[in-house]
């Protein structure tokens, strides 16, 4: 009896030990697999974010060793820095117009393609082309295409009116900001178009079949069934456009450089100028940190209001 009991205990201990060993080996394997990713994220994302916030408390030119601790002084400057807040204002204008232009036009194009079917494939291919260009390439192209001398609009205006007419789109305010918004619409509308095409594609074909059996035309189906079903996709598109416009950089930097007279300055271009042209890295870090806080805040508020549902 006694020995049997002992055996049982031993057996029990043994299985427990096995389960424990198994768990241990799982944890070990998981740690091994996760290590490279977590290490890189810690080095290139977490540490830099902390470091940006720390550096924002210093006055520092980025090169010399005299890094002077000045506490919250940079942050106080930031709160009253009109350049920063007007840049933020430009970001907000860009954000609003991006959402108002890119998403509706993208949706219209997608609806057109969805209603027309494969016979409009050529439209789809051509409409997608702008998205294949990098922001830098687009910036260079449009800095010439919108120029007063030999630009597209100036040339068209000259042809219509006869004689030489100059249309100054990038050289004065507020025209420059709206020209930039136009170029961004040219660049990103194809992205939202493809996004909505995918959205239409995800709607079960049986829904369309049922609608047709009930006597709905293609137009009625789109109006009353398909477009309402795109709701969640629409919200995700808005969130993407929102975050994208708040951290916009490449194109503005290469096309207007924030000019004329700061008329197209965005938070990111302002931060870049401060840090890498004026070598005011302490305050540049402060602007970067402020930008990070503003973007996070706006994105969270937007998510709270519209409760973007994860549909993936």
């Amino acid at each position: 009896m006694v020995t049997r009991k002992g055996d049982n205990v031993a057996l029990k201990n043994n299985t427990n030990g096995l389960a424990q060993a198994r768990e241990k080996s799982t944890v070990k394997a998981a740690a091994v697999f996760l290590f490279p990713a977590l290490f890189l994220i810690a080095v290139y994302m977490i540490y830099p974010i902390i470091d940006t916030f720390t550096t924002s408390a210093y006055s520092w030119n980025g090169i010399s060793s005299d890094k002077i601790f000045i506490g919250m002084k940079n942050w106080k400057t930031l709160f009253t820095d009109m350049t920063f807040w007007s840049s933020f204002g430009h970001n907000v204008v860009v954000m609003v117009f991006s959402i108002l232009l890119q998403i509706p036009i993208g949706m219209l194009l997608a609806t057109f393609l969805d209603a027309g079917g494969r016979k409009f494939n050529l439209f789809k291919v051509i409409w997608f082309l702008p998205y294949l260009m990098s922001s830098v390439a687009i910036a260079f192209l449009f800095s010439y295409a919108l120029a007063t001398n030999g630009g597209i609009f100036s040339s068209i205006a000259s042809m219509i009116k006869g004689g030489k007419v100059t249309v100054d789109l990038l050289g004065r305010n507020p025209h420059a900001l709206f020209s930039v918004i136009g170029v961004m619409a040219w660049q990103f509308t194809p992205f939202y178009m493809v996004y909505f095409i995918a959205g239409y594609g995800n709607i079960d074909t049986s829904i369309y079949e049922a609608a047709v059996i009930d006597g709905a035309t293609r137009g009625q189906y789109l109006r009353t069934i398909a477009i309402p079903l795109l709701g969640p996709i629409f919200k995700t598109a808005c969130t993407m456009s929102l975050i994208g416009s708040l951290k916009y950089f490449d194109m503005i930097w290469n096309m207007t450089g924030g000019g004329p007279a700061g008329g197209t300055e965005l938070m990111a271009t302002y931060m870049y100028k401060l840090s890498f042209q004026q070598f005011n890295m302490g305050y540049g870090s402060c602007v970067a940190a402020g930008m990070f806080l503003l973007i996070t805040f706006i994105a969270l508020v937007f998510q709270k209001i519209f409760v973007v549902k994860e549909d993936y």
Binding site: T26, V27, A29, A30, V32, F33, L34, P36, A37, L38, L40, I41, V43, Y44, P48, I49, T52, I105, L109, F112, F120, F123, V125, I126, W127, F128, L129, P130, M133, S134, S135, V136, A137, F140, Y144, A145, N149, G150, I152, S155, W186, T236, M240, I243, K247, F249, D250, W253, N254, M267, A268, S275, S285, A288, M291, F292, I295, T296, A299, Y312
Partner: protein
């Protein structure tokens, strides 16, 4: 009764015709808006410097002038091109391996911190790169990597990781558990399992991610502009600024650089149309 129905039908048909007419009109307008800048770019890249204003930008070049392309090709364009190819290839391969490694335990193992780690990685998706720019610049200088192609690999891999881990985790969850279990019975351990079963089965997810991230690395500007300095080390997105610096007023030459840098993407698009679009849509979950 029947006549009324026919009138209704005809009315409906007429209305639909008009609607299509308007739709096609707007479609054509957007087509023109899309194409005019491309037309402008290509036409003017075949002109001599001063012909652009003299001939008018919408005229066909007279004569077609190919010297711009020769000049660009012989002045280091392919250097920029191949440096971009190398950086993108190395970063992409590393990124895909690391992302797959991370997604494997997150999707197929049970351990305590799993939910927390996953949520943490996903939260990293919306970090704006500008907030990390100054510290990464400092780190790169300290490590002695400043102004070398290697400096770009770390940031490129890391900033592509969160979204890739997110997508691959979702992808690997769809692989049935039995596949792995039967391999385990046959004596495979976790590591063998990953390399000989899960990784090959994730191929389609990996290729989608390769396309999306390849395109964004190919076009990346801010890190490259901050971390590289000498023209002989610069990547393709910086080539434009470099050529502009050297040929300030020669617009046609810059336009030919533009054409050459866009061309590979357009060729890829024509060859792999659907795959490329699908890959680029992977970025849609980034919001």
């Amino acid at each position: 009764m029947n006549g009324q129905k026919e009138v209704d039908y005809k009315k409906e048909k007429m209305k639909s015709r008009i609607a299509w007419g308007i739709a096609i009109l707007f479609a054509c307008i957007w087509l023109v808006i899309t194409l005019v800048p491309f037309f402008f770019m290509i036409m003017n890249s075949f002109r001599k410097q001063f012909d652009m204003l003299a001939q008018g930008v919408f005229h066909f070049p007279d004569p077609w002038y190919f010297e711009n392309y020769v000049e660009v090709a012989t002045n280091g364009f392919f250097g920029y091109f191949f440096r971009s190819v190398i950086v993108v290839a190395v970063s992409l391969i590393l990124m895909l391996i690391i992302a797959a490694c991370a997604a494997y335990p997150l999707s197929r193992m049970k351990f305590k911190m799993r939910g927390l780690i996953y949520a943490g990685i996903v939260a990293m998706m919306s970090i704006p790169m500008h907030v990390t720019l100054i510290p990464i610049f400092k780190m790169t200088t300290k490590m002695g990597l400043y102004d070398s192609l290697r400096s770009l690999i770390g940031p490129y891999v890391t900033f592509a990781l969160p979204m890739s881990v997110f997508i691959l985790t979702a992808f690997m969850m769809t692989i049935p558990k039995e596949v792995e279990e039967s391999a385990e019975i046959d004596g495979c351990n976790k590591y063998r399992n990953f390399f000989s079963i899960i990784l090959p089965l994730s191929k389609s997810g990996l290729s989608t991610l390769a396309i999306y991230n390849g395109v964004s690395m190919w076009n990346e500007f801010a890190f490259a502009n901050t971390l590289l300095q000498t023209p002989a080390h610069k990547t393709l997105p910086l080539a434009l600024g470099q050529f502009k610096g050297e040929h300030a007023m020669d617009i046609p030459i810059i336009l030919s650089v533009l054409v050459l840098s866009v061309l590979p993407m357009i060729i890829l698009f024509i060859v792999f149309q659907d795959k490329l679009v699908k890959g680029m849509m992977a970025g849609a979950v980034k919001g």
